[in-house]
């Protein structure tokens, strides 16, 4: 005897479409039931339950049968049910009372009653029926699939009826029917499928193909059988196919999966996925078996999906924008409400998507403590005012990194009740942007500081010459000097003085075409003369396009004044040098001339005896005269040196008319003798703040000069006038005298000991003294003259 464990079974459909039965262990709770069944002997001796058998053995069997899960019944020879165990009655729904009148054919499915009539005689003849399947009908008409054995029932060696043992196989049957249905389905699927099956020879030539090939790729059987498979494969996939085929050739029986592009008859490639199996060594096949299906649409859809998903992910990642939903089940207890985050929101908070369970409490924990109130206030305000809220705040991630986020939320309200349902929001990581902004602001601030603290005034104009910006220095400068504040947006040309507008406009145009302009000029403002340097430079944007003009204005008054001072010093030094040269010349000529005479006369004294009386007299006179002349030269030198030292003398208001009168009085005898006419006109300006002694000396020298160099046959006329021109005092001394040939000796007029007339006595001191004095007072003297017509001296003094 074998002990058999009955197991529950289940059907499972494998991925390749085959149904298979697998054993399932019974559930523990049901317990494990063993049932003894002798299957070793076909003609087995079955347990014979017999009510009349009161033996201990009979009792045991009866109990076993009664408790069995198998459906057991006993038939009389005529087919009446004389016994049925508990399982039988339970399965079929009949009671013991029912059994009294129940015939076996009542239990059989309608139309299968012949089973009883056909087989009962066999049983009665001693035969057994094995593994028969029947359909029983329950009392309430349900079908019950059963399987079992039937053996004759012996009583005292005589067959009196039949004993049957059936199991309820309804479940199994149902599954089997289902399976059958599925098989049909699969069959239909396979027959109607678009799966393309081919047989390909070892050399790669099509031997056979399924009809689906024509459906999918357009080729008829005759068109491709005999052709090489490679011929329809996309060139880029040929090497893959060859590689796979080579591998497969080395491994008979194995299959290989791959995706290929295969040419449709109409010319487009279709993506196909499938497998090739090497059955070359299978005597029944002797070919590669291929099975492909068209996946072009899937492929496209997949690609599109991948692409759009990738784009979405990328854009979210790039923008660092995440979204969230905060449900408002409890308006007053926000922390207890449901919060949902998008993947990017997790990332912004430093988590992998789904890494943590999110709630509002977690969110607020991560917000920078100083910013929590800000968010709460923003949400509250949005809820109260039914508006969108937008707030920037910091979060501190678990990794310690502090991020700045921009959070924007919108409250969604219930249409009917108007109650807030949830907040839909976006959250964006703006840390980098903010840091960049901050650094930009910082650098801008730094530049502005430099800009404002510059000594130079900077004014930025746009291409329309309008003021865009200016620094502090410019503001102050324009306020102080022009009494006109700089205004952004104003046309700068309005600040230019009327006479400078044309030049300014021209300058802007030049600069806007790329030129750099620099010039220096002066301007008389309320503080006096101001020298300034003006630089105009083009301003370009980062595309090198000129968008404006940068004006840089510097006050260079100090520099300019010191430059002018330097120039004056240089001029003075040059003059001093000339004076020194002249001094050397004076020493060598004028000092030495009388000295040479003295030496000559002294020599003559040696031979005084040889001279006549007249000559002696002349020598003595000459000696005396030369000594006197020598003294004069020395006195002159002393005077010259003194003039140059008198600069420190006090200045005072000097009246030209008064001085002219004084001199006229001093030389009235000369005027009278020579019949001199002196005309003066100081109506334009009669006073100068200057050194009186110098002005006197200048007037005296020029007036006496005019008389000295008068024409012998004409009464001298001297005209002295004053005028004011360009902040300068002009004095003119005009005479009708001999005049000087300036073309010939003009450069020597004002030089010491230069004389032009032999008929008049002169030392060549007067004009030299005049020039020295005029220049010492900061003025200029010039001469215009014509021989025999007269001379005009013009003197200019700065007021």
């Amino acid at each position: 005897m074998k002990l058999k464990t009955q197991k529950k079974t289940a059907l499972k459909v494998t991925p390749d479409g085959k149904a298979m039965r697998i054993a399932m262990p019974r559930k523990q709770s049901e317990g494990i039931h063993h049932f003894l069944q002798d299957t070793t002997d076909q003609n087995n001796t079955v347990i014979s339950p017999n009510k009349n058998d009161n033996t201990e053995n009979g009792e045991l069997y009866r109990n076993l049968i009664e408790l069995s899960n198998e459906m057991v019944h006993v038939l009389s020879a005529t087919g009446n049910i004389v016994f049925a165990n508990a399982a039988w009655k339970k399965a079929l729904g009949y009671t013991d009372e029912d059994l009294k009148t129940l015939h076996f054919t009542n239990v059989l499915e309608k139309g299968t009653e012949d089973y009883f009539h056909d087989n009962m005689p066999l049983i009665m003849a001693g035969e057994s029926l094995k593994n028969i399947e029947r359909v029983f009908v329950t009392k309430d008409g349900r079908k019950l699939f059963v399987e079992g054995n039937v053996v004759p029932r012996y009583i005292n060696g005589v067959i009196v009826g039949a004993q049957s043992f059936f199991r309820d196989i309804s479940e199994r049957k149902k599954a089997e029917n289902e399976l059958k249905g599925r098989e049909l389905f699969y069959k239909a699927v396979i027959e109607n499928s678009t799966d393309m099956k081919t047989l390909v020879s070892e050399e790669g030539v099509f031997l056979y193909g399924s009809p689906s090939i024509t459906k999918v790729l357009g080729y008829t059987l005759s068109e491709y059988v005999g052709q090489r498979g490679i011929g329809v494969v996309h060139p880029d996939d040929v090497s893959l196919l060859i590689g796979k085929t080579q591998q497969l050739k080395a491994t008979p029986g194995k299959a290989s999966k791959l995706q290929l592009r295969i040419l449709h008859k109409k010319g487009a490639y279709r993506w196909c996925e499938g497998s090739i199996t090497n059955l070359l060594e299978d005597p029944n096949v002797k070919a590669f078996v291929t099975n492909f299906r068209d996946i072009t649409e899937e492929k496209h859809a997949e690609e599109e999906l991948n692409q759009s998903q990738a784009q979405l992910l990328a854009s979210q990642r790039i923008a660092h924008i995440g979204s969230f939903e905060l449900y408002l089940e409890q308006v007053n207890e926000i922390d207890s409400n449901t919060l949902m985050w998008s993947d990017e929101t997790y990332r912004i908070f430093g988590f992998e998507p789904g890494e943590v369970e999110v709630n509002n409490e977690l969110f607020f924990q991560m917000v920078h403590p100083d910013d929590r109130g800000l968010i709460e206030a923003a949400i509250k305000k949005a809820l109260d005012a039914h508006t969108i809220y937008s707030v920037e705040h910091r979060i501190i991630r678990d990794d310690g990194k502090e991020c700045i986020v921009h959070e924007r939320g919108e409250v969604v309200y219930d249409i009917t009740t108007g109650k807030p349902i949830k907040i839909l929001g976006s959250i964006q990581d703006i840390t980098e942007r903010r840091l960049a902004d901050e650094s930009l602001q910082k650098s801008e601030a730094n530049l502005r500081t430099i800009f404002d603290n510059a000594e130079t005034s900077y004014i930025l104009l746009d291409s329309d010459h309008r003021i865009v910006s200016f620094n502090h220095q410019a503001t102050e400068g324009f306020k102080r000097l022009m009494n006109k504040p700089l205004i952004e947006g104003a046309k700068f040309i309005d600040y230019e003085p009327e006479e400078g507008k044309e030049r300014a406009t021209l300058s802007y145009t030049k600069v806007l075409s790329g030129e750099h302009i620099h010039y220096e000029d002066n301007y008389t403002g309320p503080d006096g003369l101001i020298w300034y340097s003006l630089r105009l430079s083009p301003v370009s944007d980062n595309k090198k396009k000129i968008i404006g003009v940068l004006m840089a204005i510097s006050d260079i008054t100090n520099r300019k004044l010191s430059e002018l001072e330097r120039e004056k010093i240089t001029t003075d030094l040059v003059q001093r040098n000339k004076d020194l040269e002249q001094f050397a010349y004076i020493v060598s000529h004028n000092l030495r001339a009388p000295l040479a005479n003295i030496m000559g006369f002294s020599e003559a004294m040696n031979s005084l005896d040889e001279l006549d009386a007249e000559s002696k007299k002349q020598v003595l006179y000459g000696l005396s005269h030369s000594v006197h002349r020598l003294d004069n030269v020395i006195l002159d030198l002393n005077q010259i040196l003194q003039v140059k030292r008198q600069i420190s003398e006090m200045r005072e208001t000097v009246s030209f008319s008064a001085i002219a009168e004084d001199i006229k009085n001093d030389i009235h005898r000369l005027i009278q003798n020579e019949n001199v006419t002196i005309k003066t006109d100081f109506s334009a300006l009669d006073e100068i703040f200057s050194l009186k002694t110098y002005i006197q000396s200048i007037f005296y020298n020029l007036m006496s000069n005019s008389i000295k160099y008068r024409k012998p046959d004409e009464a001298p006329v001297i005209e002295i006038t004053s005028a004011k021109k360009d902040k300068k005092i002009i004095l003119t001394f005009k005479d009708n005298g001999l005049g000087i040939d300036l073309a010939k000796r003009g450069d020597q007029v004002f030089m010491l000991y230069k004389r032009f007339h032999t008929q008049v006595e002169g030392r060549g001191m007067g004009l030299f003294m005049v020039r020295t004095q005029v220049e010492t007072l900061g003025g200029k003297i010039s001469i215009s003259s014509e021989v025999n017509k007269g001379t005009t001296f013009t003197i200019e003094f700065n007021i």
Binding site: A604, G622, G764
Partner: protein
């Protein structure tokens, strides 16, 4: 042929110098013919008139001042340059100046018509030296 100068001309605006020159020349050369001019223009006119008419050469020494108000010595030399060759050949010019400036000396010596530069005063030894130089000098 050597020629002893027989005529002496002095052009200088300073009459005292002219007197001193006259005395010096007279003491050095007996019977010297001396002509003094304080106006250079007059001196030039004299030369122009006197030396053009003569057929016989008169060996002459001209003492010329530089620093004169109406016309400088250099201007006199410019005018002299334009005289006829026979006139010029009779006259040997010496610059007579009070200036000790080397610039003046150099300027004078660079002039082709200037024989030498003499620093004032003109004295007997200086005249004698000039005379002796003239005697050894070849005058056509």
């Amino acid at each position: 042929m050597s020629a002893k100068p027989i005529r002496y001309i002095v052009i200088d605006d300073d009459p005292h110098n002219n007197l001193s020159c006259t005395i010096a020349i007279k003491s050095a050369v007996n019977n010297a013919e001396i002509h003094c001019f304080t106006d250079p223009e007059e001196g030039l006119s004299y030369i122009e008139a006197e030396y053009a008419k003569t057929n016989e050469a008169i060996s002459t020494v001209l003492f010329l001042d530089i620093n004169m108000p109406s016309m400088t010595g250099w201007e006199v030399l410019e005018r002299f340059k334009d005289f006829a060759v026979p006139v010029k050949e009779q006259i040997t010019i010496y610059i007579l100046s009070s200036s000790v400036s080397p610039i003046d000396q150099e300027l004078a010596l660079n002039n082709p018509f200037v024989a030498d530069y003499i620093i004032k005063p003109l004295t007997k030894p200086k005249v004698l030296q000039i005379v002796s130089k003239s005697e050894t000098r070849k005058v056509f």
